[in-house]
């Protein structure tokens, strides 16, 4: 809330020529609660957003949803009715995003989610996203498995919705190509995954896919390695934080992970479309927050802004006045017309039937090597 006040005060103090209305953008992130680590990344990216676009002043209003869908909805309503925002960016989780999407769509305010929620259908007419879906990520994993001669795979994942999403994606992507020989579940707070690891090892898979996120994803890999599993171990894109490396230590060496390219920006080949943008973003971010402070989450937030910025520029050309329903509709149409927009974390091309529009060829595989992320060539 303090941050919000600050923005409002600066907005009042620096109010530009009264003839031109300011553009107001609401950002909702999980700054506290279980997903606070993700919210922190969004906050970093927001602090780098420009304050003007094409001479028009942009105000950002950042609110905390406390990782709670109810609070997220309240924030969305407040942003729309009190702050009269022209667009909403965020939030970080599917649960909060689903809750907010209905509000944004009902009030006809364009929203760009950083969480991979489903954005197809009539009820998502004003909702877009900048984060690639789990399906795309897992398809990349399966492609890598096939390229390395993997024929059987074991799955150990969370016994919650995230584990389910990844398991479904794996089943779909592997169908007819790779056999899933074991599917085991565990809880984030479980004291042990010995039994699950034993079951998977006894099925003798060529590779194991760990369908988990954050630091709890390290445990199955640690246990598998301790029990002598020698095959390839794949992790999902939910583990790409420094904390995962800290907790996993030497046992997560060699883990293979599909990610958006921003995490290994400098290592990308020059032919990779996002290299230039990703490197520039990472350098700005790390100049402000110190070395190794990058994350794909910050990159996705930045790309959400790029999508919006692009639409704002379009609306300026059409001379629509900010703060009006016509302006919001123009932004929505603008985002939907996005074509081959190169961001930091991928390339985006939206269409009426595709509000996710993430080009899967931007996804790269990385490997944990000497406790660092290394691009797999």
């Amino acid at each position: 809330m303090k941050l919000k006040n600050l923005f409002v005060i600066t907005a009042a103090a620096l109010a530009a020529a009264p003839a031109v209305a300011d553009i107001n953008v609401g950002v909702v992130a999980s700054l506290t609660g279980p997903a606070a680590a993700l919210g922190a990344e969004t906050r970093k990216a927001v602090s780098l957003f420009p304050t003007t676009v094409g001479g028009e002043k942009v105000n950002f209003i950042l609110l905390d949803d406390t990782t709670d869908p109810t609070a997220a909805v309240k924030n969305a309503r407040k942003l729309i009715s009190e702050d009269k925002v022209d667009a909403i960016l965020g939030p970080n989780l599917i649960s909060t995003a689903v809750a907010m999407a209905d509000v944004a769509n009902g009030e006809k305010v364009p929203m760009i989610s950083v969480a991979p929620l489903d954005v197809s259908g009539d009820k998502r007419g004003f909702v877009f996203r900048s984060e690639p879906s789990a399906d795309l990520m897992v398809q990349r994993v399966v492609a890598d498995m096939l390229a390395n001669g993997v024929k059987t795979v074991g799955f150990i994942g969370f016994s919650d919705s995230w584990g389910e999403v990844l398991h479904k994606a794996l089943t779909k992507a592997a169908e007819g190509k790779i056999t899933i020989v074991a599917s085991e579940r565990y809880g984030r707070a479980d004291p042990s995954v010995q039994a699950q690891a034993l079951k998977v090892i006894s099925a003798k898979p060529d590779a194991v896919f760990v369908g988990a996120s954050g630091t709890p994803a390290a445990m199955p890999q640690i246990t598998l390695r301790e029990r002598g599993f020698k095959g390839r171990i794949y992790q999902s894109h939910g583990v790409t934080s420094k904390e995962f490396l800290r907790v996993g230590g030497k046992n997560v060496e060699g883990a293979l992970i599909p990610v958006g390219p921003v995490l290994v920006a400098e290592q990308l080949p020059d032919s990779h479309p996002t290299k230039k943008n990703a490197v520039a973003f990472v350098q700005t971010l790390e100049a402000k927050y110190g070395p190794d402070s990058r994350s794909t989450f910050a990159g996705a937030t930045w790309d959400a802004w790029l999508l919006l910025q692009n639409a704002i520029a379009g609306a300026q050309k059409a001379k629509v006045k900010a703060g009006t329903p016509e302006y919001r509709a123009a932004l929505r149409d603008g985002i939907e017309k996005t074509s081959k927009l190169v961001g930091t974390n991928g390339v985006y091309s939206m269409a009426a039937g595709d509000h996710a529009g993430y080009d899967a060829s931007a996804i790269v595989m990385i490997k944990v090597e000497n406790n660092h992320w290394k691009l797999v060539k």
């Binding site: 606070a36 016994s159 579940r185 565990y186 042990s192 010995q194 039994a195 699950q196 904390e243």
Partner: protein, 342 residues
């Protein structure tokens, strides 16, 4: 499924069961003496483990400031209801001088170079005193309240502690170094050194508790209070002292089990609750009254958890917590219900 897998699952189940057993004993103890269903038991486990992790990485453990805060709060409560100068003096010593002295000592030490034994002692010294302080602040003023009121307070304390845990440790978890990296081969079975440490520590702690209750005056006073609160009071046993002593023991057990479990799994600020809940299932098997039954129940819970993770990992927690239903039915059919004197 062959003998080797059964042996491994058994080893895993018994190791976790030993930790649940410690928590179950603490729960039974606290309930018997103070009638509090001690939901925050798991938080002591998490705080102990995370304090240890902070010490290992050479950070100044933030729990020290929490100890200072708890001390000041306790001192305020003591000062509010003070009876004499001596009791205030003692309260000053324990609730203000001790936490500050500890903070000063830790400030001076170079934490990263300490031997493991010293770290264990420091973690105990920081977290354990919060047990009696907690009793003084939250439970002693309402010691005579009905069980339900005490349970509600217990839930409130649990929520407050989880929130504070998030504040001081952050959302990410930690693991600590195992006390022993050794591996022993028993036939085809590999036994980790840390497994033996967990089992040995649990057995030692259980024997120590037995000796304490059977041989020492304070232990007998606690038992007397558990059997008949009013009778014990008439014999000159202070219920307040009994309560504080109980919470002290519960905190010791909680922190020790935290130190034992942290090398096996990653501990988060909120991990304590689920582990404590499994201890609670074991305590229920013991009817919240019998120590040996609770310990046996804990081993059963550990084994059940381990084997059900092997056969049906998605339903593991369902199976473990469903255990409570037949146990409750069996208990209510076999034991006579006695109305508690209020």
């Amino acid at each position: 499924m062959d003998a080797e897998i059964i042996a491994m699952l058994g080893q895993d189940g018994v190791t976790n069961g030993a930790i649940y057993a410690l928590l179950a004993l603490a729960l039974v103890l606290v309930f018997a003496v103070t009638r509090v269903i001690f939901i925050p038991q798991g938080e002591f486990l998490a705080w102990g483990a995370l304090t240890m992790a902070a010490l290992e990485s050479g950070h100044f453990p933030a729990t020290v400031w929490l100890l200072v805060g708890c001390g000041v709060l306790t001192l305020a409560v003591d000062g509010f209801s003070a009876t004499g100068r001596r009791s205030i003096g003692r309260s000053l010593l324990w609730n203000l001088a001790y936490p500050l002295a500890l903070a000063g000592l830790l400030w001076g030490l170079s934490l990263a170079e300490l031997p493991t034994a010293a770290r264990v002692l420091i973690a105990l010294a920081i977290v354990v005193p919060m047990g009696p302080m907690l009793y003084r602040v939250a439970f002693q003023p309402v010691a005579e309240a009905p069980v339900l009121v005490l349970l509600i307070i217990s839930v409130a304390v649990h929520l407050a502690m989880v929130g504070l845990g998030l504040l001081i440790f952050g959302p990410e978890g930690s693991r600590t170094q195992p006390f022993s990296e050794a591996q022993f081969e028993l036939g085809s079975l590999m036994i980790g050194g840390h497994t033996l440490v967990v089992l040995a520590a649990s057995v030692v702690l259980i024997v120590a508790l037995y000796l304490f209750f059977d041989r020492t005056l304070y232990g007998k006073a606690l038992r007397a209070t558990a059997i008949n609160r009013n009778g014990a009071r008439l014999m000159g046993i202070s219920p307040a002292l009994a309560g504080r002593l109980t919470f002290f023991l519960a905190a010791v057990i909680g922190v020790l089990s935290g130190l034992l479990v942290a090398p096996i799994t990653t501990i988060y600020y909120d991990s304590g609750f689920l582990i404590g809940l499994k201890g609670f299932v074991a305590a229920i098997i013991g009817g919240l009254a019998s120590y040996p039954l609770a310990a046996g129940g804990a081993i059963l819970v550990g084994l059940l958890e381990s084997f059900s993770s092997f056969w049906a990992s998605a339903f593991k927690d369902v199976i473990v917590f469903t255990l409570i239903i037949p146990v409750l039915m069996w208990r209510s059919l076999t034991s006579h219900h006695v109305e508690e004197e209020e």
